[in-house]
Every structure is written in structure tokens, then in C-alpha cells.
Symmetry: C2
Subunit: 593 residues, 2 copies
């Protein structure tokens, strides 16, 4: 079955859950005219359904090929990419000065979800180009921007991010790729990188690589890393392509999923050194890379949402069609669709509720980024930046965890057919699995949340967010609608659990970081579940007051189901946060072969 | 890395968690000499490490081939199978009268885990043969037994179970394969079956198919189904092989996992009809099939345990080896193994604790089956049979759910390497995913638990079990060992939540089955978590008193970790059980495309 962008859900989430509408109304987004949001997203949905979704299974089956140092993508891939740039999709949120449409990154976040949902392996390529654009725009010299930025914004060229080496994964500081200063101000780069997404391909005639390397006199660790721009083909003064640069794909990985996305080993310097240009300052490459990584982390979070939504759509369609047995109380004469069985219903509700919760967390992160970038008020900018920083690890880890969970439920709904590759449910299960890993494993996101985000300004950022959630809970309770069931009390309990857990961790951070870290993963889940539950409740409340929502009651049911079945776990998660350090202190004796 | 059977964990679980030792001591297992348990299991572990584990990745890569109506298995497969039968592994629990060793099925349950852990695709073949043996032994005529049973027990021939047709999956009663009575008392079978595991292969010179079909004058639904034995090659009076029977593999599936296990479409009757022999009575095939299915359900449950344990072993080894970054508080000069990071520790503890809990639930089911089969006391036999019936759906669903969860954690621990197929972690993630589906989806197990098992004798079976758990909780509390942390209170809360949820469901079953079914899945998880938590606690208490356990403290830590991080979710699960019907009543409006 094909993919259809769930525009109604998306707009409710973006405008009312994530607060884009309020931010625009308050003037925090400059002159953005939010009237066009729906139109852009409808078009994105159409492109995804018509062009990207049909290539998803083809890409999975064909994968990619590396021959003679060149990667060939799956049939139809280069053509789809050309349509993609022709339709302007690469430039949605790109800077206007360089040919972009300058739309809010929140709008592009929705698009990112839509691309990932229709074809995750395809959407990954522009995702990395966007990160490259951000880094170059923020840190590059005008000369480099003038040559490369327009082509990256349009998508005529794609970008890569090259951090990882065999000994340097999560520990980027351990990298060994080296850079030598050349007489003309450029650099020669030698070394090799692994796990480079779209490190080579045949969809564009040039690729702009962003590579971390170390200068000979650089300090050890992350303080001695510099970022270089290394084009696949050098660019002449007139913008035409020159010589092939000394950076080649020397291997590709055989992966569990996203088969159509080439994952390359890149080798630099076998022919005298790859010519690279410094981005930002020497030894300040990590800062530039963090710009790319935050953008990429939100992008990966949206992959989690996208793949979850796709798995849900496919499972729902199957459950509507597949007839098997009679449901209890059924009055039909033959078999009933399996959707009639309570357990299938609950699984599908769970899939949709988890997806919706993760979606709003991601969109909220994007809205915060937009406000931080576009507001005129320094205090509002700073608060929004802190909000975005706080939400990023939650968005990344919660969304990608539920992405794999929901994809797994999708397989389950299909029964035996789910295990057969032709059905397509299994592809989502395989594709989804990378998202909790790349751009910082979800374990690292939890550590980031606890050690770097929670404690900013003594927790001010967290308390401000929790205060907002508390207003939502009050509104649910005040509305007195029995359709909400136990939503109010469950969310209140969750919020109180999250508050206590946050205080506990802030205290522990001062005395024993390891004890705080023991509970980092359940804390992130607690945070995500509480945020997500409140977001769905806020959307349900908003839907009741809106004219353009077809059936507001459905959003109440979703919010209720999430609160009663997911947010309800908050108390247990809080206890895990607090208790974990005890058992972990004796873990070494258990964890022996 | 290879596989090593965790014999110490296994023996503690089998003898003290699952109560084999007490059952033997009480004389419920006839003359079984439990001294030999350890020796048998050590040998099984050796066979698995030496012969089966090395073929696991080969089988995954090569898969199987169907050409000219014949299936060829992966290189090394037929040879390994011959060693398997030569070593007597197929006959462990087979009836002595037909050449079996007559060991308790609990011992064979451990073996089943070991085979699945080392090579799930291989272990699946004898698993189905065992089911066939059970059905034939229980329901077959002496004539059929004399011809087929010995060969099945030794493994010289393998067995298949053929229920599923495209329109008849979970709804077996919808099957259309038809049987015609022949003049000589045999039958001719026409039709086709799908998803037939090891429906054809080249490891033995004959295959004995057990096929459900419908006679022309049979009543509709499950009451009109008969079970037939259909040999691939007919067997002459002297036991030699005769003509090729009219049952052929006409297709094989391209699956997510267990690539080395052929999943066949079987076609019968293209050449005049497959000759079949009735097992049991006409139209009573479902009863016979249930014999096979219960055995197979426990077997699949053990696949969940096995794959979880394998994923754990591999993840632990990786975490010990892989160095990345410095752990907080580390005094080492270079990078630390990732095992030093609290979040990696907690993930590995969770993997091991979930695996251990599921293991004991499975072994307990097997011990109950043994007592039911071997005790001289009718009351004890009946109680044990009821216990086994109650535990089977929990064992199946809980173990296979945690199998996929643990395999997914295993991928995560490997970081980017986990997504690369060569690493092997991804294979476990793919292989594990079938177990929650086949032999009755886990949703169906929950329904079985709630509608068929919970209410037996007004819940007497459940209350008896909960009373036993309550003794364990008291013992934990009484031991006053601070190393148990919050184990006592967490398990007490879990037990109380389970008790209340059971009462709620028993009440609802009388008034509204659909409302009861709405909470079936969280109820099964609640049951599994409580059982598992108590089992680990019982094992920890036992370990402290045993001389032959290397480090009893490790089992205390495991029990504690499970209670504080898994069993602690009981309260939330109870609330899901009770609350689910509310939101589900409005689900139809949400679950539309």
C-alpha cells in the first residue's frame, strides 16, 4: 500500500501541540505567513506518495552497488532526486540569500517526517545536506559560501558528515584522520572514515564532504579537531567542475536496513591527499560539527516518527482488510476483519498514540529552534534556544525508540505475513532500527539530557517547561469531559513523578554523576512520556475548539489511551530512576562471561 | 563469537526456580535420577557450541533453495543434522518404547533453549518433529506408531505441522484442504498449505507430514477437521521407502529471519491425491493438533529465551571488548570498555534479567507437564496439568516478547556495528521476530490466558500459583539482606496488582468478555513480570544456600534489578488492564485511514 501524509494530525500537532500558531501570532517568527503551511505540506505529501513511496521497496530490494570506486543507487533513484530538487523540496528551509525558501525549520521538520515516512533511505540524503548547509552557513567563510552554499541549498550537490573512524565512534575525540597545511591556504587530508551515509552516489554530479580531521600540532582529544570541506570534484573559479579530488568510497556496508542508502568507507589521500578547506577556525571543528549534529539529531528523531507512522498506516490497512475469525459479539455472518478484535485495536491505538506523542515532541523542538533563530526579543530567543537544547535529546531518543517499537507492532499486526519481506512491514522494522543508534546513540542522548541539559541554570529550563505542562493538565481537569477518562489524574501523576525525578537527578549530579547516570534512560523515557501525554491532551483540547477538525473526539480518545496506558508508567519509571544505582553498583559481578 | 550454554544459570533456574529438584524429591517424576541433568546439559551445550553455532551465520547468509520441487538447505546443514541424530539429541525426551531416552520434558526444554540459542533456524526442525511425536504417540494407531514413531523419535525422519492456509491462519476452522476416503481405509488429500516449516529439505530421506483437512461430509468450522499423517515417501511393509507421495513444496518464502529454515507452500493432489492416514478419529483433528500446539508453544517460548540469551552473550562480549571514551571516575589512562558506562551496564542487566525470568517461566511450564505426565497421584497430576495449561500462554508470549526486546537491546549495545549484518547482532533481531507470531500470535496467547485459563475452576489454578509466589515474597522480606534492595516491596506490590487484576478480569468475564479482552495483553505482561520477578528472587534465595554456585550475590543483584525495574511496572499494567476498555470503546473513530 502507498503512503498518505496524515495532514490533519500533522497540522493539529504543529499548530496546537507544538505551538507554531501561537509563536507566529506572538510575532516570534518574523513575517512568516502561517496560512501557507497547510498548502506546502499537502504538496509535500503528494510528492511523497507519488514519487518517493513507490521507490521504497525497490530501494530495499536492489540496495546499492560499489564498483570501480563509484556507487550506483537503485533504479529510479537518480531520477527521483532530480524531481526532488526541481520541485524545490531541498530548499524549503534554506537561507533565502542562497536561493532557499526561508520557511521555518518547523515546516521543514514536517517535510522531513514525510520523506522518512515515505522512503527513509531516500530522505536520509537531503537530511545530511541540510546539516551541511547549517554548518557552512554558520561557520564558513564568505568565499566558501559563495561557491558551495547555493548548490547545497538547491540540492544540486549533496553534503556528507564525516566523523566516525573505526576507533572513534561515540568518542569522536579519538579520531586520527590528519590534515596538513598547504601553501595556498588549503589543506591536504589523509585518512579514512567509516559509516559515511551517501558518501558516494550517482544522483548528483558533485558531493560536498564535511570531514573532521586533526592538524599535526593539534591538542589531543576533541579540542584538537578541525572541520574541512572536501568536494568530490574541485570547483573552478567559474563554478564549473574541475579535477576529481582524492576522496573515494572504498567499501560499502551490508546493513540490516535502509539498503538503498549507501554507507561508505571513505579513503582520503591515496593519491597525494584530498584537498580540503577549513570551516571556521583550526581546532574548533567540534563546535561546527555540533551545529550539524543538532540539526541531524532532530532529523533522525523525525525518522522515528515517520517510520512509526508508516508502520501504523500499513498495519491499519491490513487490519481493515484481513478477515480472520469472528469477533466476540459480532453480528456478521462470515469472518470479521481482525480490526474488530480488542487486542488488535489496542495495538493500533498504541501505535498511533506513540507516534502522535513523538511527533509533537519533535515539532516542538523545531518551533523552539525557529523562535530562537527568528525572534527579536533576546530573552525569548535565549529561552527558546535553551528549550530546543533541552528537547533535542528527548526528541531523538524517545521518537526513535518508539519508532522501533511501533514498527515491531506493525509486523505483529500482520501475523505470519509480517515476517515475509514482500509485505513491507518487515522493512520498516529493519529500517527503523538504525535511528536509535546514529547521530548519538539513545544512551548518549540520555546522558546528554541528564548531564548537560537538565542542570542548565539550575534547572530553570526544565521548570519552565513543567510549568507549561501543568497548565495543560489543569485544562484537562477543568474541562470535565468524561471522554477523557483518567487522562487528568494520569498526567498529573506523571508530571509529579517527572518533577521529583528531575529534582533527584539535579541533586545527584552535584554528588555522584554515576548514580545520576544509572537512571538516565528511564528518566528520558519518563520525560518523553509525560511531554507526549500532555501534548496529545493539549491537541485534544484544541481540536474541540477548532472548526476544521473532522472528528475532535478521536483526539480525545488518543490522548486518553496514551495517558492511561503509557503516561501511567511514570511512577514506575521514577522509581527506576531513583533505584537503579543500587543494583548497578553490584553489576560487575553479574556481567561476566 | 561463539555460543556458550550458561549451565550455572540454567541449573539454578531448572532445579530451584522451576522446582525440578523438589518435584523429583517428592517422587512426582517417577524414577528420574536428577544427578544426570547437569551432565546431559553440559553435553548439549558442547554440541551446540561446536556444531550448531558455527552454522548459524552460514545458514542466514545462504538461506535455502527450491528447485525442481526440492528444497536444498545451507552448506553443512545435512551433515550437522546427521551428527545430531547420531548423538541422540532428537531422542532426549522421546518415549523409551520407541527408542527415546525418556528424560523429562523439562530437560528437553533446556536442550530446546540451547539449540535455539546456538542456531534457531536449525533447532526449529526437531522442535516440530517433537510435536509430531507427541501427537502420534497420543492419538495414532499402533500400526502407524510402529511404522513412523521410531524413525521420528530417532530423528531419522522429521515431522511437519500443516495447519495454515491463506484464508485460515489464526482461524484454523476456515481451512479448505479436503480429504476423501479411499477403499483401503486410507485417504486421498487435495489442497495446499502455506508457511510450512521444513516442509521439504535434504537432511533426511523421508519427511512425515501432519496435515489438517476436511472430509466431504464434515461439519463446518473446527469441529469438522481431521488430522492426517502424509509421508513424503510411502513406506513399504518392510520399512523401506516406496513411491513418492503426492505432496510437494511449490514455493518458499523470502523471510525477515530464520533464513535457513525453509518455509514452504505445500501442494497436495496435483497427481491424483496425497495418500494420508487418519490420526485419531475423523473430525477430531483439532484435539490432536492441540497436543502438537501446546508442545510447540513451549518450544517457541524457549526460542524466545534462547535468542535473548544469545543476544546477551554477544552484547556482553562486545561491551567488554569495545573501548570508547572514558567512564566517569575512571582511573585508566586510555579509553574504557563501554561496559564501564552505567547506561550500558543497565541495558545488559536488563537483558540478562529478562532472559532469566522468561527462562524460569518456561522451565516451570515444562516441570508442570512432567509432573502431570509422571506423577502417580491423580490430584497432583490434575493440578500440574492445570498449572501447565495456565503457564503455557504466559511462557509463550512473555518469553517471545522479551526475545525481540532483548535482541533489539543487543543491536543497540553494538552501536553502528549492530546495524551491520556481519556482526551477527542483527540476525538475532531478525530471527527473534517470528517467535511472537507463530504457534498462535501473542495476542491470541493473551486471549487464551484470559478466556480459557484464568477462569478454570473459578480461578483456583491462578490463586494456587499466587499463593506460592506469596511465600517467595515473604522469604525475600524475611531474609533481611540489604543486597535485595527494594525487591521485597516491589514484588509484594506486583503480586497485589496481579491479584486485583485477576479478580477484575474474572468478574468482567462474566459480564463483558470484550472489556476483559481489552486488557488481555497488559494482563499477560503483568503476570509474566510478577512470575519472573518471583522466580529470580527464589533463585537468588536458593543460590545463597547452595554450595555449587560460584557467586550467589550475582543472582541477588539480578533479582533486585528485575524487581526494581521490571516488576515495578505492575501497578501501571494493572491500571491498563482495568482502564483499557474505556478508550477502546471509542477506538473505531480513531482507527480509520
Amino acid at each position: 500500500m502507498t503512503y498518505r501524509a496524515p495532514i490533519e494530525d500533522i497540522l493539529l500537532s504543529l499548530n496546537h501541540g507544538a505551538g507554531l500558531q501561537a509563536a507566529v501570532a506572538a510575532g516570534h517568527l518574523g513575517d512568516y505567513d502561517s496560512e501557507i503551511t497547510a498548502q506546502v505540506l499537502e504538496e509535500a505529501g503528494k510528492f511523497a506518495s507519488d514519487i518517493l513511496a513507490p521507490l521504497n521497496r525497490i530501494g530495499d530490494k536492489h540496495g546499492i552497488k560499489l564498483e570501480h570506486n563509484k556507487v550506483t543507487t537503485a533504479p529510479g533513484w537518480p531520477d527521483a532526486y532530480q524531481r526532488w530538487i526541481a520541485a524545490g523540496w531541498n530548499a524549503v528551509s534554506g537561507p533565502e540569500q542562497f536561493g532557499g525558501q526561508g520557511l521555518p525549520s518547523a515546516v521543514n521538520a514536517v517535510c522531513t517526517e514525510i520523506w522518512a515516512s515515505s522512503n527513509m533511505a531516500f530522505g536520509l540524503c537531503p537530511l545530511l545536506t541540510l546539516s551541511a548547509i547549517d554548518a557552512l552557513h554558520a561557520h564558513g567563510s564568505d568565499a566558501l559560501k559563495n561557491i558551495y552554499l547555493g548548490k547545497l541549498v538547491s540540492g544540486e550537490w549533496t553534503g556528507t558528515m564525516q566523523l566516525t573512524e573505526p576507533q572513534a565512534g561515540s568518542d569522536v575525540g579519538a579520531l586520527r584522520t590528519r590534515a596538513e597545511r598547504a601553501a595556498d591556504g588549503s589543506y591536504k587530508i589523509f585518512g579514512s572514515k567509516i559509516f559515511i551515509t551517501y558518501g558516494d552516489h550517482d544522483m548528483t554530479d558533485n558531493i560536498v564532504h564535511f570531514v573532521l580531521a586533526r592538524l599535526p600540532d593539534a591538542p589531543a582529544g576533541t579540542k584538537g579537531i578541525s572541520l574541512f570541506l572536501i568536494p568530490k570534484f574541485l570547483v573552478n573559479a567559474d563554478g564549473s567542475l574541475g579535477a576529481r579530488n582524492d576522496i573515494f568510497p572504498s567499501g560499502v556496508e551490508h546493513k540490516l536496513g535502509i539498503h538503498a542508502s549507501p554507507t561508505c568507507t571513505m579513503t582520503m589521500g591515496d593519491h597525494g591527499g584530498a584537498i580540503g578547506y577549513l570551516i571556521g577556525e583550526e581546532n574548533r571543528g567540534m563546535q561546527c560539527m555540533f551545529t550539524m549534529m543538532n540539526q541531524a539529531r532532530l532529523g533522525v528523531a523525525l525518522e522515528g516518527v515517520g517510520i512509526a507512522d508508516r508502520a501504523y498506516q500499513q498495519a491499519l490497512a491490513y487490519a481493515q482488510e484481513r478477515k480472520q475469525g469472528r469477533a466476540i459479539g459480532s453480528t456478521s455472518t462470515g469472518s470479521d476483519p481482525i480490526l474488530k478484535h480488542p487486542d488488535v485495536k489496542r495495538t493500533l491505538l498504541l501505535m498511533r498514540a506513540l507516534t502522535g506523542a513523538a511527533r509533537t515532541i519533535c515539532y516542538s523542538t523545531a518551533v523552539a529552534l525557529d523562535v530562537a533563530a527568528r525572534s527579536d526579543d533576546p530573552k525569548i530567543k535565549a529561552d527558546a534556544a535553551a528549550r530546543a537544547a533541552l528537547l533535542t535529546p528527548i526528541a531523538k531518543a524517545f521518537s526513535t525508540d518508539i519508532g522501533t517499537e511501533v514498527a515491531s507492532f506493525g509486523v505483529q499486526i500482520h501475523g505470519g505475513m509480517g515476517f515475509i519481506e514482500e509485505t513491507g512491514a518487515a522493512q520498516h522494522y529493519r529500517d527503523a532500527r538504525i535511528a536509535p543508534i546514529y547521530e548519538g546513540t539513545n544512551g548518549i542522548q540520555s546522558i546528554d539530557l541528564v548531564t548537560r541539559k537538565l542542570g542548565v541554570n539550575g534547572g530553570a529550563s526544565v521548570w519552565a517547561l513543567l510549568d507549561e505542562l501543568s497548565v495543560i493538565v489543569k485544562n484537562v481537569e477543568a474541562c470535565n469531559d468524561p471522554a477523557f477518562g483518567a487522562t487528568g489524574p494520569r498526567l498529573r501523576d506523571a508530571l509529579e513523578a517527572l518533577t521529583r525525578a528531575s529534582k533527584y537527578l539535579l541533586e545527584k549530579l552535584g554528588s555522584s554523576t554515576n548514580e545520576a547516570l544509572a537512571g538516565a534512560t528511564p528518566y528520558l523515557r519518563l520525560f518523553g512520556s509525560t511531554l507526549g501525554g500532555c501534548a496529545l491532551a493539549a491537541e485534544a483540547l484544541a481540536a474541540r475548539d477548532l472548526d476544521n477538525v473532522g472528528d475532535p473526539a478521536r483526539y480525545v480518545t488518543l490522548a486518553r489511551f496514551f495517558a492511561e496506558n503509557v503516561a501511567v508508567q511514570a511512577g514506575a519509571l521514577e522509581r527506576s530512576v531513583v533505584d537503579s544505582a543500587g543494583a548497578l553498583a553490584s553489576a560487575d559481578a553479574v556481567l561476566t562471561a
